[in-house]
Amino acid sequence: MSIKVRYFASLKELIGQAGDDCEFVSGMTVLDVWQALLPEKAMPTNVLAAINMEYVSLDSILKDEDELAFFPPVTGG
């Protein structure tokens, strides 16, 4: 009963780790996961989120065993 959480790039450095696990609670949103894991860190305004490698909004609801990623704006190319 958990969500696998991953952080990338500057956000990984800001948080100081590459990922975490979050206990799954039915109906929890992307923002709920951030607040559960990082209660003292305000979410930067430009953070992007993905569930199972697809972009989602912060109010998206998670399912058990989902992979949730947080990362800064992309800068490839």
Binding site: N46, M53, A69, P72, V74, T75, G76, G77
Partner: protein
């Protein structure tokens, strides 16, 4: 085809090899190819840059590249596309990205190649961290819009 590349990206070798493999799709029909090659510069935002690390999100990067190509193919009638992006440690003059679009007519090839580049730069999870000449490192903040940028 999309590909993530962890060692030197040699764009012309990649294109020639791919064209041989895709003969059935291209021969006789290819009227136009538009190719974009993005290369690492030795300066950015007024600072000398010695090197760079390209981070990505394995799995999601490929998935989002596939979405970009599918979206492009839905919008234009193309013969084929090739997108290769470098990851890991890179240095000035290393090729970072290659996009090729083959089509019957030239307008299509130009439009679709540019669309892929813009979508890649705004949607596909890659992140650049630069190493400056004093050894300090900084993350690149965000990509510019290539349709409006000034030269």
């Amino acid at each position: 085809m999309i590909k993530i590349c962890t060692s030197e990206l040699e764009p012309y070798k990649e294109i020639e090899a791919y064209q041989i493999q895709q003969k059935k799709v291209l021969l006789g029909k290819q009227g136009a190819a538009n190719i974009f090659i993005g290369t690492m510069r030795d300066f950015n935002e007024g600072e000398e840059v010695k090197g760079m690390t390209l981070e990505h999100y394995p799995g999601m990067t490929e998935k989002q590249l596939e979405h970009v190509v599918a979206e492009t193919e839905a919008q234009w009638s193309l013969l084929d596309t090739l997108v290769i992006h470098r990851v890991g440690d890179v240095f000035p003059d290393d090729v970072l990205v290659l996009v090729v679009v083959w089509s019957v007519h030239r307008g299509t090839a130009f439009d679709a190649c540019r669309f892929i580049m813009e979508a890649l730069k705004s949607k596909v999870p890659f992140w650049k961290k630069e190493i400056l000449s004093d050894g300090s490192r900084r993350w690149v903040d965000k990509n510019t819009d290539g349709y409006v940028e000034l030269s």
